[in-house]
Symmetry: C2
Subunit: 402 residues, 2 copies
């Protein structure tokens, strides 16, 4: 590390950017200055010196004195443009944009390799939990078998409050929006899409597989009702939105969906806006990591930690990805790594029997009908669940069960 | 990393060594060979090729083709000799000997600096939880305020079984010894000394302070009785052996003692041989890490991960230690970093009132006497607890309480 303070260019100054700004001003060790902050909306009032602000990305991206570009904007394509331009300029980048990273993973990986430059993104998944660095560095030689996690604070907050306050989804969602725990448009969180981008990133560092986010199943919690939560309580279970990634003989089973979690499961205890991740290896058994999953300061801390890592030339090694690419050769891009041909046991709450015809039901284990609710527990073909993905008309609540 | 497999010399082939051997033979990524294993006892039958075994450390330590010395022996001074000789030869070292590391921390740190060589030791604390690497790399710029942990699997196993099976300490200890969860001489674990060495190492990476293990208070669980556990149950508490390290205005409060832990505490849920560590920072709030704390394979995995890290030139940066040394200058070695002048609230179960005169009792909050047990809850001067440390005559059970 040189004696000179490192110079940061920030793109975006929303929740994470503001958090980083605060955390940076309290850091005792890291010698870093914010050289410039690039934002979009000139009309917005900001709590920093006007001289720091710019609306023109070009004035920053072409500066030679910027050591690190910190990208924290919401626009996926614009974020990709900024990040790829910085990488081509051989400027190291820290990003917290999970959707952009998951969507453009392959080109971003290649740009890093081609230009010998680092793109790191601990703030993009797991909030304050250092999961990417841990998967990358610590488990690199572990025969990791699976990873399961609660990766979205908003949905966990909603599910926790529904259970503990005996309330319906819409009521708690409205509360969460008022309190700033949910966005005005909550789709990204409640649909499981946010979780999906995160698990795609984790799958790269856990198993070396780059998945196309649009091919990965995500079911959300929009259809959950207090009836489902009550059913879970009766069985001493809890409903959690779970991201799973597991290696099998035939590939990688990666998906996001609600799941009934047992009381002896470490993820059962993860409540409110907390995130939790369980990693299972052949030799290290299960490790669990929990921590705040959302919020400006926890995510700001994760971004700061990345900036600090760059000061000692840290880069992801992508050892597992490189090994798999080497093994498969040209076939890497054509080999179907995602496994979807298997049966999964699910709880399905429905209104009309007709709705069930959507699903490839192979074996019904339990069946319940009453004037207030109907459900089945059945083994269904996993592929048939894709019809529910992003389906606004869907009123089925589907939840994995052991 | 060169194309050649890295060559390892193992010192010690007990539980951890055997675990490493197994894990290494299942690793898919790491290209490493065991060149030689140095052991002490020629009469012991071992499950590896005789040609790998040597009884003479010199034949290994002088070899130029050894890339990494892996030190896993029990003899503290011998371990220090081996490690310091390897460091002087500019050979990187992985160690799992917490007592040796904590006892000789300062000279080992200086040897690394002087010879530009790495000594890493994730396997020495937290079992399979990657806590040292996480403190070192991830929280380096965090204003860490405190760290609390269950760092010893054996004591946690004993306390868990006492509670769940309503048994007395001696009965569970005997079971644990039979099952291999406790040593024949259990002192190191049950006295809290093992935990003490671990927390001393964590304090270096969390706060940059090198403490003398002999100056740090450790109280153990040898005096716990089922009466104490029942008292805890009635209050919805659990007794855990807790290592604490916290930064205050006056220094660092670091100690090991039993503590009543509340049901909403993350460490409450850590049972049996599991370890759990909670890290609290100014901005990232609380993170908790849990995982298996003992056992041949989990620790072997931690050691393997260190070996792997050395293949990409990983070293601890000791940023916080270096910063503190720079701040304090020559005064670093004379400044009392350990804070002991404070009052702490404790539960003290005693037999005779006389015994209480050992302690500097400042304020009694509760008092209970009956034919079967007597206890007080009181604020006591922390320094007075040192009289109980390693005191074989002691029959008081002292447990911190909020």
């Amino acid at each position: 590390m040189s004696e000179k303070n490192i110079q940061l260019a920030l793109f975006g100054f929303g929740c994470v950017g503001q958090g980083l700004y605060d955390v940076l001003h309290h850091s005792e060790v890291l010698q870093a200055d914010i050289a410039k902050i690039c934002v979009k909306d000139p009309s917005k009032k900001r709590s920093v010196d006007d001289a720091l602000i710019t609306f023109d990305k070009n004035t920053i991206l072409d500066r030679k004195d910027i050591d690190v570009v910190v990208e924290m904007i919401n626009d996926t394509d614009e974020a990709f443009n900024i990040v790829s331009r910085a990488l081509k300029n051989k400027t190291n980048v820290v990003s917290a944009s999970k959707k952009m990273l998951a969507t453009y993973f392959e080109p971003l990986f290649l740009l890093q390799e081609e230009h010998g430059v680092a793109l790191i993104y601990e703030g993009s998944a797991g909030g304050s939990i250092p999961i990417i660095r841990t998967l990358e560095e610590y488990y690199d030689n572990e025969l990791l078998s699976s990873l399961r996690g609660i990766l979205n604070g908003t949905t966990n907050y909603i599910l926790s409050r529904m259970e503990l306050e005996h309330k319906e989804y819409n009521e708690v969602l409205a509360d969460a929006q008022r309190e700033g725990f949910a966005e005005i448009d909550p789709w990204l969180d409640v649909s499981g899409a946010d979780t999906l981008y995160k698990v795609c990133l984790l799958a790269v560092h856990a198993f070396g597989v780059i998945l196309k986010p649009e091919e990965v199943l995500h079911l959300g919690i929009q259809q959950v009702s207090f009836n489902d939560i009550r059913y879970a309580r009766e069985k001493n279970l809890r409903i959690k939105l779970i991201a799973s990634a597991a290696k099998t003989e035939n590939g990688y089973r990666v998906f996001v969906m609600p799941r009934f979690v047992r009381a002896d499961d470490e993820l059962y205890k993860v409540m409110y806006e907390y995130n939790g991740i369980e990693v299972e290896g052949a030799f290290s058994c299960k490790q669990t990591f929990t921590g705040k999953g959302a919020g400006s300061h926890p995510t700001g801390s994760a971004v700061l930690s990345d900036i600090s890592a760059l000061t000692y030339q840290y880069r992801y090694g992508y050892k597992k990805l490189k090994k798999l690419k080497k093994q498969l050769g040209d076939a890497y891009s054509t080999t179907p790594l995602l496994e979807t041909d298997f049966a999964i046991r699910v709880y399905v709450r429905y209104e009309n029997q007709d709705q069930l015809s959507l699903l490839d039901i192979r074996h019904v284990v339990e069946e319940y009908r009453s004037p207030s609710m109907n459900f089945i527990i059945a083994d269904v073909g996993f592929q048939s669940l894709y019809v529910l993905k992003d389906n606004a008309q869907n009123t089925l609540f589907v939840c994995a069960i052991d």
